[in-house]
């Protein structure tokens, strides 16, 4: 398998605070990779660096053969990178359909003039966009919520809409930031099932930050562990779960106790 995403020696400082320090790892195409670590380990910061919401202080990030370290945030969607946010970032006043349609933004071409006239090409494009969105709605099993304002839905369903919006981008790589936090058992299992389906049926590569060890151990191919902004271990789930560094990061060392 080839590397879809390669992070090389990435560091991010906020003033005197080093949130991420010299982290390197790769995500293989077609894999499900998990990024875990205690709170404050720098996982979400690393996600923000990968998705270009923040700029790294040093280091480089390559995605699908492109150097993306210095690209503006909006350019990554077109290259095929999509993400969800740890705290919901849905467009809460809009309907489920409109949220998903925003995800299609980079796939559509309409310019302001033809948009104002809305005949011919603009209309055809909107119709195609609706067809595409219907596929995602069907995949995520939210047919009955189409026209509801997203802000009125439950937390779990809003997360699902956010996942759908990321899928609408048509990504090669999907970054999921704590998808299942705050969800009940049933919702968690739904999400785990969706993630597996995404990889197996649509051929997506998934990188996820996750605190739920059950899901991490069950579905990931590769696990990367961070603590204090540094990578402390990586490997298959079974190996990582018995790694002494990881156990120390989560439980503390025997001597300290």
């Amino acid at each position: 398998m080839t590397d879809l995403l390669a992070i090389e020696d990435v560091t991010k400082r906020f003033g005197g605070l080093r949130a991420v320090g010299g982290v390197s790892f790769t995500v293989k195409a077609g894999s499900i990779t998990s990024l875990i670590g205690p709170n404050g380990a720098g996982k979400t910061t690393l996600f923000n660096l990968i998705s270009a919401v923040l700029r790294p202080t040093s280091g480089s990030i390559r995605f699908d053969g492109h150097e993306v370290t210095r690209l503006p945030t909006y350019a990554l969607a077109r290259l095929g990178m999509a993400r969800t946010f740890q705290n919901l970032a849905v467009f809460k006043h809009e309907t489920v359909v409109d949220n998903l349609l925003v995800g299609l933004h980079t796939r559509l071409r309409t310019d302001p003039i033809s948009a104002a006239i809305f005949l011919g090409r603009a209309r055809r494009e909107e119709i195609q966009a609706r067809e595409r969105v219907e596929e995602i709605i069907e995949f995520l099993e939210i047919e009955d919520l189409r026209d509801k304002a997203v802000g009125t839905l439950s937390y779990g369903l809003q997360k699902r809409v956010e996942l759908g919006r990321a899928l609408a981008i048509g990504p090669k790589l999907l970054l999921l930031d704590e998808m299942v936090s705050g969800m009940n058992q049933e919702e968690r299992e739904d999400i785990a099932r969706f993630v597996l389906d995404l990889r197996d049926e649509l051929g997506l590569t998934v990188l996820m930050v996750e605190h739920d060890m059950g899901i991490v151990m069950d579905i990931s191919d590769h696990v990367c562990v961070m603590n204090h902004g540094e990578k402390i271990a990586e490997g298959p789930p079974a190996a990582v779960s018995v790694d002494p560094h990881v156990i120390e990061a989560y439980l503390g060392s025997r001597r300290a106790a």
Partner: protein, 348 residues
């Protein structure tokens, strides 16, 4: 409740409305507006014209402040730019109206880039203050660039004609404004249902998520400024055609406040709301005048003496009452009423 309603093609999903009832009412409204000159006198007609000009301006402002979430208190500056461009092109440069009307919008749109650029970094109140400053700058430039703008003397408009029809008379002007209003409303509704409108809404609701979805914030914020100011500039040009004499005093700070009042009153973000708010606030002084005159001649005199003060107070009261009791505005009120009668006689 509406039942038995199915969509058979994706084309129906992107239509402006799927309800034949709505379509019928809108058709009826357009027919009524077309027939209005037959029943209304010159005064009624000029009121209606002023209301529709307000609609054009409000729809433009709403695209920026309601849809994209960029608060602008400076749109009166673009109204002034539109009005002056039209007046000067007609009076001094003898352009035909067919060219000067779009030119007014284009000049306002291009100049809006000047305000748009700071908006890329500023949000909320900071942007509001910047745009406010811009409106003052516009007024001062107009006052002191006498060679170009006639400064404090103002500009008298000559009789303008469009396709051979003299639009300085009430009826042709009414039809011209009606046509422009319909086009503008349709254009904004259309923009709202494409990727451009959705990008605006996305920026308002969550700008970081919008960026991650591939929305170029720089481009779309500037685009919102340009489209909004283009429409406000057109409204200014129409206004200049109606008032026939353009002077900076028309475009004071109070106008920007009124404009914000219109879209708050109508319901932020909704085009229908902006239309309702514009019509309601345009008619408000008239309602007050009628109210005063029904109480006898002394009250009528009081009104004519203090007309500006009373109007100012009325705008203030309307804004406060709506923000306190109906923040969704008139469009929210309309939705509530509709829901009530849909479910009647059950509560819900």
């Amino acid at each position: 409740m509406r039942t038995g309603h199915f969509k058979e093609s994706y084309g129906e999903l992107v239509a402006l409305t799927d309800s034949s009832v709505t379509r019928a009412w809108v058709g009826l409204l357009v027919v009524a507006l077309l027939l209005l000159p037959l029943v209304a006198g010159n005064y009624g007609l000029s009121l209606a014209t002023a209301a529709m000009i307000t609609v054009v301006g409000a729809v433009g402002l709403n695209l920026l402040t309601g849809m994209t979430g960029l608060i602008s208190v400076g749109q009166s500056g673009f109204l002034a730019i539109g009005a002056y461009t039209n007046a000067l092109l007609l009076a001094d440069y003898k352009w035909p109206l067919l060219a000067s009307l779009p030119a007014s919008g284009i000049v306002a749109g291009v100049l809006s880039l000047l305000v748009g650029v700071p908006s890329l970094r500023l949000k909320g109140l900071y942007l509001a203050i910047t745009t406010l400053a811009f409106a003052f700058i516009v007024n001062h430039v107009i006052l002191y660039a006498e060679g170009l703008t006639h400064g404090p003397n103002g500009v008298f408009l000559p009789n303008a004609s469009l396709l051979g029809i003299d639009v300085s008379r009430d009826r042709p002007l009414y039809f011209l404004v009606l046509a422009v209003t319909i086009l503008v409303v349709l254009a904004v509704l259309n923009i709202k249902r494409t990727r451009i409108g959705r990008a605006f809404l996305a920026i308002r609701d969550h700008d970081i998520a919008a960026r991650v979805m591939g929305v170029d914030l720089v481009r779309y914020k500037l685009l919102a400024f340009v489209i909004s100011s283009f429409l406000v500039g057109i409204a200014g040009a129409l206004l200049s055609l109606q008032i026939r004499f353009v002077n900076v005093d028309v475009f004071g700070l109070i106008l920007s406040i009124e404009a914000l009042a219109v879209i708050i009153l109508g319901g932020l973000g909704s085009t229908a709301g902006a239309i309702l708010g514009a019509v309601f606030l345009s008619m408000l002084p008239e309602l007050i005048r009628i109210a005063f005159s029904t109480f006898g001649s002394t009250q009528s005199v009081t009104y004519t003496t203090y007309v500006y003060e009373i109007r100012g107070i009325a705008y203030g009261v309307v804004i406060v009452v709506f923000l306190r009791f109906k923040p969704d505005g008139l469009i929210g009120l309309w939705r509530d009423v509709r829901r009530y009668w849909t479910n009647w006689p059950l509560a819900y």
